[in-house]
């Protein structure tokens, strides 16, 4: 056990976590260079493309240190986006230490701080690592000051690296060995292991990722989940070295996996404790809270016969993604679909992309909504995240919406811009403090609904990319909610309805009408697009009709060309929905969700 180290790398997005992980893996030689794919820990395509990690990955690195001994360093990867900060916490629970990575030119950012707090909550030993020292804009002294002042860590312990060029990598590995404590735990005590993640393997079923705190686990053991007393027979245990490497046993201090004939990922719960059926441990590990979806949207197939495919695809995705929830939904305009809950907008986008790419589906999504608490006149409470279920406003006595506490770190000359952005978004400025002489941390309380819309993009744009952001949900507050409907030629298109704050309704309505006007192709008659609250029209746009749509000339040489055009249009039509007499392209539904790039 003395030769094991369990650690994570925590960092603000883009500070180089994936690059550093790759270097560590490369240096310890568990994969040949030939097989080495860049950024190997981000194994899902979409994650790799977007350069973010969603599911934690783990890798066990054998390393021969300067003292001549071989150590097993378990690197437990963590997600890198605010939407998934909860998952970070789960990964950290399995570690004794963490590398806190800071970009030498960017310095400490909001997620650096947020992640540090998480790590401290778990009593982790922290090693600051300053990355990208090769950059001409690197300012190591400034970053060291920030590490001391903002983070309260000893800047002299900081390791200087360039993950890109491979400098300082040995120092990092040595640092892990010498500065991070080895795990402790009684190998002879009854099994106590904490589940921190799981994923689905189409051939083997659910693969449970866990950390053993005491005792041992091996193939053939009958184990039991302490939350629900479900028992399983262990088929295989092992460690991760990019591929799964089976082991005879895993004992206290080790991090690895178990395959035990568990059908779906949903049958396991992160934070649950695994013990032996015959010889239970006394108390479970302190668990995690359930991750709760905060953003909801309905998903419909564009093709009317696409429903069955969507069912299958969602079932398969769910195998691997316990945080995705869904239930049946129907729309007059779009037919059968699903109401889905996501951890955040990014999660939503990732799910959408995977459904479209991996399952070849064309989808329409409805405007994302948060969950509202509605108290009716008779005192009963409704929890609503779907505009379709919004009750008659006369029956409502009170509506509440979720608020977040947002921490935003910016160079101070963006203060005005950020203040304006947050106030526009109905935010309340609670506090601000200088971290270093010109870097400011601003704390706002904001409605979650305003943040899931396009807040992050806007923040990036008003701060020219320098603003960073982290949030947590704090409470529910009274609000003035209305249901905004979109009418097309007088017909309400239910899939376009959204719940919005009254003060924002006109702006949203205009935005939606304008986007629809841009996307709906001209037809032979005029198309009126209106935004309405109740019976009141608050915005309108029209798509003017064709006055003519005819090709003047068609002889021998023109026929093929024209036919090909018609064939292309026909393909396009497959991505359209008929609403009444009007063809609405899929892109129109999606454009309503997008904001203007200003």
């Amino acid at each position: 056990m003395e030769n094991i180290r369990n650690f994570s790398i925590i960092a603000h997005i883009d500070h180089g976590k994936s690059t550093l992980s790759d270097r560590l893996i490369q240096t310890t030689d568990i994969v040949s260079d030939r097989d080495f794919q860049d950024q190997i820990l981000d194994s899902m395509d979409i994650e790799r493309e977007r350069g973010i990690t969603i599911k934690s990955q783990t890798v066990c690195l054998p390393y021969t240190a300067k003292d001549g001994q071989t150590y097993f360093l378990n690197l437990i990867d963590t997600p890198g986006h605010v939407d998934f900060s909860y998952e970070v916490s789960r990964a950290l629970a399995s570690c004794e230490g963490a590398l806190l990575l800071v970009d030498a030119s960017q310095g400490v950012e909001a997620q650096t701080l947020a992640n540090l707090y998480l790590a401290l909550e778990h009593d982790l030993e922290i090693i600051p690592v300053i990355n990208k020292i090769d950059l001409p804009s690197a300012d190591i002294e400034r970053v060291k000051n920030q590490i001391e002042d903002d983070l309260g860590l000893d800047p002299e312990t900081a390791i200087l690296v360039s993950a890109k060029e491979g400098t300082g990598i040995e120092d990092v590995l040595e640092g892990v060995v010498t500065h991070l404590p080895p795990p402790v735990g009684d190998t002879e005590a009854p099994l106590k292991a904490l589940i921190f993640d799981s994923h689905y393997d189409p051939f083997r079923g659910t693969v449970v990722h866990f950390r053993v705190y005491q005792g041992k686990i091996k193939a053939g053991d009958s184990i039991c989940f302490m939350s629900n007393n479900a028992t399983y027979k262990v088929e295989e245990v092992g460690i991760f070295q990019i591929v799964r490497v089976p082991q005879k046993t895993l004992s206290a201090g080790q991090v690895g996996y178990m395959i035990a004939g568990i059908k779906t990922v949903s049958d396991t719960r992160c934070g649950d404790t695994i013990t032996l059926k015959k010889q239970k441990c006394d108390t479970p590990m302190p668990g995690f809270m359930e991750t709760k979806p905060v953003v909801f949207s309905s998903i419909y197939p564009v093709a009317s016969d696409g429903y069955e495919d969507l069912v299958t695809a969602l079932e398969k995705l769910k195998l691997n993604d316990a945080s995705l929830i869904y239930e049946k939904d129907t729309s007059a305009a779009l037919g059968f679909g699903f109401r889905c809950g996501f951890l955040g907008l990014l999660h939503l986008e990732v799910v959408q992309e995977r459904l479209e790419r991996e399952y070849d589906l064309s989808l329409i999504l409805t405007a994302p909504s948060v969950q509202y608490e509605i108290v009716l006149n008779d005192g009963s409470l409704l929890i609503i995240d779907n505009p379709a279920l919004y009750p008659d406003p006369t029956m409502i006595s009170l509506t509440k919406e979720p608020f977040i506490r947002a921490a935003i770190i910016i160079p101070d000359h963006y203060m005005g811009a950020v203040m304006k952005l947050c106030l526009d978004r109905r935010g309340i400025n609670r506090n601000y403090q200088y971290l270093t002489n010109n870097r400011l941390e601003m704390i706002f309380e904001l409605p979650l609904a305003e943040v899931v819309y396009d807040f992050y993009d806007k923040l990036k744009s008003v701060t020219q990319g320098y603003g960073s952001f982290d949030y947590e949900i704090i409470d529910y507050r009274e609000t003035d909610l209305v249901k905004l409907d979109i009418l097309i030629n007088g017909e309400r298109v239910d899939a376009l309805s959204q719940l919005v704050h009254r003060d924002r309704s006109v702006e949203r309505a205009r935005h939606a009408c304008e986007k629809l006007r841009e996307e709906i192709p001209r037809q032979m008659f005029k198309i009126a697009i209106q935004g309405a609250i109740g019976g009141k029209i608050i915005a309108r746009k029209t798509v003017s009709p064709f006055r003519k749509d005819v090709t003047a000339k068609c002889y021998g040489g023109d026929i093929s060309r024209k036919r090909k055009l018609l064939e292309k249009q026909r393909k396009g039509k497959k991505r359209m929905k008929m609403v009444g007499k009007i063809m609405i392209p899929q892109s129109a539904f999606l454009s309503v969700l997008k904001t203007d790039k200003d």
């Binding site: 003519k548 003047a552 068609c554 036919r563 018609l566 026909r570």
Partner: protein, 384 residues
Amino acid sequence: MRPYQPEPAGLYVHIPFCIRKCPYCDFYSITDLSFKHAFINALMREMQMEAGFFQKTRFFFDTLYIGGGTPSVFDAEDIGQIIETARNAFPILPDAEITIEVNPGTVTPEKLRGYYRAGVSRINIGVQSFQEENLRFLGRIHSAEEAHLAIQWARKAGFDNIGLDFIYGLPGQTELSWIPDLERAVESEPAHLSCYMLTYEEGTAMDKDRRKGCFVPLSEGRVADLFQTTVDFLSKQGYAQYEISNFARSGPERSRHNQKYWQDVPYLGFGPSAHSYVSPCRYWNHRSVKKYLSDIGAGRFPIAEKEILTREQQITEAIYLGLRTTDGIDIEKFDEKFGVSFHEMFGEMTDCFEENGLIKTDEKRCALTRRGMLFLDSVVSALV
């Protein structure tokens, strides 16, 4: 073996030369006339190659269309040679319709007399407008007066089947400025008129100017109005519309050749960029004089591409082409060819368009109404 009942078919010859390129035009032609001689020889060679290949008993030809480009860059002798070669190579009926397209800037009374003597029976003159300003905008090489003379000379040369081409929908054009062109056209008593809405074809010089904002194109609504004006005016003057852009004084004076394109009748094309169609195949020659010459020189067919239409594609074309004509889709023929019921396949949609006054259907025919013609592309894209 069951003997073929020979079917009528058409021959098309593409002359790929022009004196100067008109900025709106996307037909294939080059202005380097030094290839003329080599081209004529290659063209005749191509016809002979095809003749050796082709099933003589399957078709007979009742039309030969010499188009372009500007066929009238060639004198009567050359044109006569083309016609003679075609007649030797293919079974062409003695009274076949033989058309030549001419540009008023390239003709003389002698040339036209020569064409007539060479066996040309129909002449199509690219007038485009009788107004100098319009001709300038269109980049034509001739004046209004020359166009007028060309018509006179053609008639004197013996042609009584004369067709005139016009373009309308020019920037700034109004009913008031367009009608005089139509009036003068009608005064010269042609058998046939083609009136095309100006189209900004992608890649043409005029389209580039439009994108640059060099001029303001006439609005869609105005063009639509001019279309109605044209159809109204000409019908009052005895010229019945029979296709979106084509009008004839009487049934027999319609362009027999061009109707083949819309009626699924086979045709063979010769010369660069020419298209051939023998259901279900369509193929076309290279859009390059050089490539054309080198292929023929090497004894190869100068075919650039070939497609074999699926049943679905044939249906798409039958609908699109049928609806271009006032006669519309011949439903019996459609049902017979595709072994389906047109009414079952499209009835629901055509009823809907009928309600909106865009289509007229009965047991035999399905055609667009006058207003419907303006929306041909939308209607077809809704149907197929």
